[in-house]
């Protein structure tokens, strides 16, 4: 049983397809990188899979069942810039939002939820900031709060949209450690990623995306110069150093 199976997914804004006939299967208990240039549809892919935007065609199966958000097996970390950080709330409150799906309508988070949320903040090294107003957190700290909120969702599969953007080296290391920890617990983590240099170090499995899936599979076999050229159009200057990136020199 595969955690995520996508078949013939097409998404269009207005008439132009943003994703076309995307199909892939995700193996369980792995760290998976979704890689591609700007406008390749990486964020769109995540949102379409999670049912946040409508699909033109296609099917998403999670553990062999058609995906419904209510089942709460999937956790989500959106891009940090997608919300207004001046919202009147503190870090703990944001993490508690991860519990809302479990709590149910009309009820308030209880003591157990708060303990769990504090625990999640601790896992990302943010326990001291629990009562801090979120606008007073640094970019890296805000990203960690989002991660903690996803942890509080207590899901089996995690989708993360560029969690490494705009964070310092220490936070990046903390995040990748956390992702590895999730992997050890048998969870499946899909990460939209930009930095080609770290792909080999971070991910077991990659999906190279540019409107279509160019290639997918274990990083060693898939993250090759040829596939990168195909994904990025082969014209970009940095790809001249591509052989270093994929370690094929």
């Amino acid at each position: 049983m595969n955690p995520v199976e996508v078949q013939n997914l097409t998404v269009a804004y207005q008439k132009k397809p943003v994703l076309k006939n995307v199909s892939f299967t995700v193996p369980e208990g792995k760290l998976i990188g979704i890689i591609g240039p700007n406008g390749a549809g990486k964020s769109t892919l995540i949102k379409a899979v999670l049912g946040m935007i409508p699909k033109a065609t296609g099917e998403v199966r999670v553990y062999d069942k058609l995906y419904r958000a209510k089942e709460r097996v999937v956790g989500y970390v959106p891009q940090r810039g997608s919300v207004d950080w001046d919202f009147p709330t503190n870090a703990l409150d944001v993490v508690l939002m991860g519990r809302y799906g479990h709590i149910g309508w009309f009820k308030r988070p209880g003591k157990k939820d708060k303990e769990l949320a504090l625990n999640c903040l601790e896992k990302v090294g943010m326990q001291e900031y629990a009562t801090r107003q979120i606008s007073q957190l640094s970019g890296g700290q805000q990203q960690r709060v989002f991660l903690a909120r996803a942890l509080a969702q207590d899901a089996k599969i995690y989708f993360m949209d560029e969690p490494f953007v705009g964070v310092d080296a220490a936070t990046e290391r903390a995040i990748i450690e956390l992702l590895n920890e999730l992997k050890q617990q048998g969870k499946t983590v899909l990460v939209v990623h930009h930095d080609l240099q770290t792909v080999k170090d971070y991910f077991d499995h990659v999906i190279l995306l540019n409107i279509n899936v160019i290639a997918e599979g274990p990083t060693e076999d898939t993250f090759t110069l040829k596939n990168l050229h195909q994904t990025y159009g082969g014209t970009l200057a940095f790809l001249e150093k591509g052989d270093i990136l994929v370690g094929q020199k």
Partner: protein, 310 residues
């Protein structure tokens, strides 16, 4: 002047009016703070203006001025306006702010045209219909206030029940969707609550100034707290205070419209908040910076002196 207040406050009708404006202050404060955070304050303005044609059409159909049906008419045309705004901004290249401007002016213009028609026609007792423009709380009678009280209480309770859902929907709508919340339904529910809060207030505050009752108490409350729950409560309190004092001030003269006085009171509270709120207030910030500068200068002087002794 004290005598005037005593006399007018002892009057049973004034008490009803006061209660009415307190309640509308609470409900518009509560819903206004969520609307503010959702960046929907201007939609509130459009809804308020757009309720006028609904009021006029209902009056023309019924031929009498009875509050409940008039408010239903107002709510229908207010909701219709929000749908027009959403349809225009999602099915054309026109952006939301332009769509709001368009819809607001078209509906309000239509309302004024209908109002002129009403005043020229011979239909029933039309006195007081003009009051919907600037608000005339004094025109409220006991049964009106009971209706407003019921509606305001219901709105506040629903908001309290849906607090958690509205919070995540406002902060991070995509995440809310990811949690499996029916975000479309919740958006519609909130919009209905907002329209109802506006409609409850138009009799006392008037369609032109109603938006101020959504925005001003909410933004004032934001200055005092960083917690959403506290902001909502405080906004309701500020709304209620504005209602009380606005009503009292407007009773000093005969025939004064209530709405402007309520809004002026709310604005006064806003200026106090803007200047004196802890952490965020301008004056507080200024004093803090002054103290910090002084301390830094002091330290600098000490350091220099220390060096010169060496």
């Amino acid at each position: 002047m004290d005598d005037v207040i005593k006399i007018s406050l002892a009057d049973a009708n004034t008490q009803w009016v006061l209660l009415g404006t307190i309640l509308l202050g609470i409900s518009s404060g509560v819903l206004g703070s969520i609307a503010l955070l959702r960046k929907q304050s201007l939609i509130g303005d459009a809804v308020a203006h757009a309720s006028l044609p609904g009021i006029c059409v209902t009056f023309l159909l019924l031929g009498e001025k009875s509050l409940f049906p008039l408010l239903i008419g107002a709510a229908i045309s207010g909701l219709l306006a929000t749908f027009c705004i959403q349809a225009i901004s999602s099915y054309s290249i026109i952006k939301e702010d332009t769509a709001i401007g368009l819809v607001l002016s078209v509906f309000f213009g239509l309302g004024i045209v209908l109002l002129t028609k009403v005043s020229q026609s011979s239909v029933g007792n039309k006195s007081g219909l003009n009051d919907f423009i600037f608000g005339q709380a004094a025109a409220l009678v006991g049964s009106d206030v009971k209706l407003m009280a019921g509606a305001a209480a219901l709105l506040t309770v629903i908001t309290w029940l849906l607090f958690k859902e509205l919070k995540v929907l406002t902060f991070d709508p995509e995440f809310a969707k990811g949690l499996g919340l029916p975000t479309k339904l919740l958006n519609f529910v909130f919009l209905t609550l907002l329209v109802s809060a506006i409609v409850v207030g138009i009799q006392a505050v008037g369609v032109i100034l109603m938006a101020a009752m959504l925005i001003t108490p909410a933004i004032s409350a934001r200055y005092w707290t960083d917690s959403l729950a506290r902001m909502i409560v405080l906004s309701g309190v500020f709304g209620a205070i504005s209602g009380v004092f606005g009503t009292i001030f407007s009773t000093f003269g005969t025939g004064l419209a209530t709405g402007p006085f309520i809004v002026v009171t709310a604005t006064f509270i806003f200026f106090i908040s803007l200047l004196f709120a802890p952490e965020r207030g301008l004056l507080t910030k200024w004093v803090k910076r002054l103290r910090l500068n002084k301390r830094l200068q002091h330290e600098l002087v000490l350091r220099k002196e220390g060096k010169s002794y060496q």
